[in-house]
Symmetry: C2
């Protein structure tokens, strides 16, 4: 197991950052009720060690402000340079708890996303160095090592280290079976590609059909801009997919509590599988009210949830039936370990947010680790898939029969092609 | 009333920013359980109009990262230049809802604090142009105009425009009496100056004595680093101040839910007036649990509360007995209007966070507006006062008999001396 290998300390000697922006708004890819014209972007970081290894990471943004995000990554350079790249637990905690930087959050927004980029780059580096895909590296770690990597501050009323250990030990003996299953069958995906608001009905119909043909077992439609339009689009999707096929809807925070309940109520006849981001990602109590009013329609959220403390409360309040973690918004892999364990403690399936730039590449590792070592289940679990921008990645995701194929190359699949970085660097 | 004056549109033609840092860590001023060595800083903005007026605003930080905060302010420049400086409602909403920038929050952290700085500068500008201190400018606005300035999104389950109007109209007829009262007596303050963790007992004793002599009706002690130390310091403060004098304690987010309840329980004999920031500012449910367990000891929070959505929930959950708004963390004056009205709706007194750089200068205006037009009461209400860095401001706060004297100069009291800006600009 990885922690058994006595690696010599090796130092991070260089850290470069890039402000990369793709002009996606031209095609209305990614358009939804709150984000009409995103230019998918990455504040990208590369770490280099004195023994010649690299680690890549990024924060995902949708255009303007990517320069601020890049500046926030740059502000972490003094903390990272010269550090032992094996030091994944304490360096993460130092970045989160630097008292002066912490004032800019704490643990939220631009600074926390910068920490995410750097922490994920450290994990990419470690996985490459150990010659394993990240999911497998994590899956093979001992429960004790995983627990060491987690910051339990503010969690102890919901999850203690002892409870986390108990969850991790529960299915430890059968890990190898699930690793083998993943290598053979991959992990099921759902697709958001048909559902963007900017597409006309014909394109929606065609993309729904393609999703079925490609073997996806769920799709998602963006809603919330215009109710009549949503009714029409949902009807088209139901015509193509049939009455029982899981079709989730996503409002991207468009509504207040009352209007969420009304609007989704008006779509009830189409049997939405879940309603995603019905209101502000900060509104734990609002999500709980919506969930109670709309039951049995499920509520899902997470892509804009700032940290483990909000996730903890969403779970405590019974506000969500699906937890949609994001790989690059909270504090990177370490914080997502805590979030996976919180979800397991409350028996809530994790269905990660993906799409954007490289988020599919990252989250597949987290869901696969979850399956092997935490939840030990795929029931009710799918990873979002969006067919955007994968061509810019060195180890892009591969979808087969509606599932993510388990990545086998060493690392976190985070590396972009050098030509893409150079071509799309913002001027 | 201000909205009755037909001002010609005037454009913002220049926006400058400054990264200003004071080396306060040298004296341990401002040291607490989470922030041992802050260098109080401001990401500072100056707006200029084509008719020769200026508006000043800033985000307060505690040192490192102030460059990121300044970069975030710079990112708002294209939204502000060329705009009508009278356009206080819609420009605020545009900054908050720019879809691409919003991804970096939404409404939290570095980007939201940048919006705060710019929005507050716009208000400083408007108040100067109208020749009034901000509190009076706001107090003389009609209820309808105030409601127009507020973003009610995500609030309607707790506060509607109609409910806000009703609150503002309730005591409209007696506004002039309260304006006169403020001009004569000012607004009561409490002082945190004795309570920093870095001070020895003798300094604590001396500063407590001075606080009493200066007429303050409440003090606050920092706690949470070491329980034995807190017991000793609280005993010293009680010896000086007597058994009934209000002494609040402030843990600056140090604890988990369980440890907050235990630690404050161990200080019960000293009768804490409130316990401030017992845990993560994001933990609404945690604050509610702590408040129930510690009652009748009051819970207070707010200086790190990111936006009105979290404040809404703290009020809905009965999690706080005092709401401590911050002038420069949420989206500036406009969002604080919403927060004052939310507090009034739940009958929770607002006792603003101050100190830092220029926060006393700003919040006095908000509390005075609250007194004249919203709560119409000073009962249970005090403004924090810390005796730091006021000498750098052109119109510094004046404390008389333990009260803030009502500022009468036009503006938001936000302007720093040009020499201070130049001398403390970070190199």
């Amino acid at each position: 197991m990885s922690e058994g290998i006595a690696l010599t300390a090796y130092a991070i000697v260089a850290m470069e950052s890039h402000d990369i922006r793709f002009p996606t708004s031209r095609e209305l890819d990614g358009s939804d009720a709150m984000n009409p014209d995103p230019d998918y972007s990455a504040a990208y970081v590369v770490l280099r060690t004195d023994d010649g290894h690299e680690g890549h990471g990024f924060a995902f943004t949708i255009g303007r402000g990517n320069d601020v995000q890049t500046a926030a990554i740059d502000a972490l350079r003094p903390y990272v340079l010269g550090r032992d790249a094996e030091d994944l637990g304490s360096l993460y905690k130092e970045l989160v708890y630097d008292s002066q930087l912490r004032w800019l959050g704490p643990e939220k927004g631009v600074m926390h996303m910068a920490i995410s980029a750097v922490v994920n780059a450290l994990w990419d580096l470690k996985a490459r160095r150990e010659g394993k895909p990240l999911w497998l590296l994590l899956a093979e770690m001992s429960p004790e090592r995983i627990v060491e990597l987690i910051d339990f501050r503010y969690l102890s009323d919901a999850l203690t280290p002892a409870q986390a250990l108990e969850i991790l030990r529960r299915n430890e003996d059968s890990k190898q079976e699930r690793i083998a299953h993943l290598k053979e069958h991959g992990y099921p995906a759902y697709t958001t590609s048909p559902g963007w608001l900017g597409y006309d009905d014909e394109k929606l119909r065609r993309l729904c059909k393609e999703a079925l043909e490609q073997g996806f077992t769920q799709i998602k439609l963006k809603v919330g801009a215009d109710l009549a339009d949503d009714v029409r689009r949902f009807r088209v999707a139901r015509e193509v997919c049939g009455p029982a096929f899981p079709i989730a809807i996503d409002a991207n925070q468009r509504w207040d509590v009352g209007s969420a309940i009304e609007w989704v109520g008006a779509l009830k006849e189409f049997n939405p599988y879940w309603v995603e981001e019905p209101t502000s990602p900060d509104d734990v109590l609002g999500h709980a009210t919506i969930a109670r009013a709309l039951a049995p329609i499920a509520v899902a959220t997470g892509e804009h949830v700032q940290n483990r403390v909000i996730f903890k409360q969403l779970l405590q309040a019974g506000a969500i039936s699906y937890l949609q973690l994001d790989a690059a918004r909270v504090g990177g892999v370490n914080e997502n370990l805590a979030i996976l364990l919180l979800a397991a403690r409350y028996n809530i399936p994790v269905c990660p947010h993906a799409g954007g730039v490289g988020l599919c590449e990252l989250v597949q590792h987290l869901s696969m680790f979850d399956y092997v070592a935490v939840s030990a289940s795929m029931e009710g679990r799918v990873i979002e898939y969006v067919d955007h921008l994968h061509e810019h990645f060195v180890d892009p995701v591969v979808i087969e029969n509606g599932s993510y194929r388990a990545p086998l190359k060493p690392g976190f699949s985070a590396e972009m092609h050098r030509e893409s970085i150079e071509r799309y660097t913002h001027q």
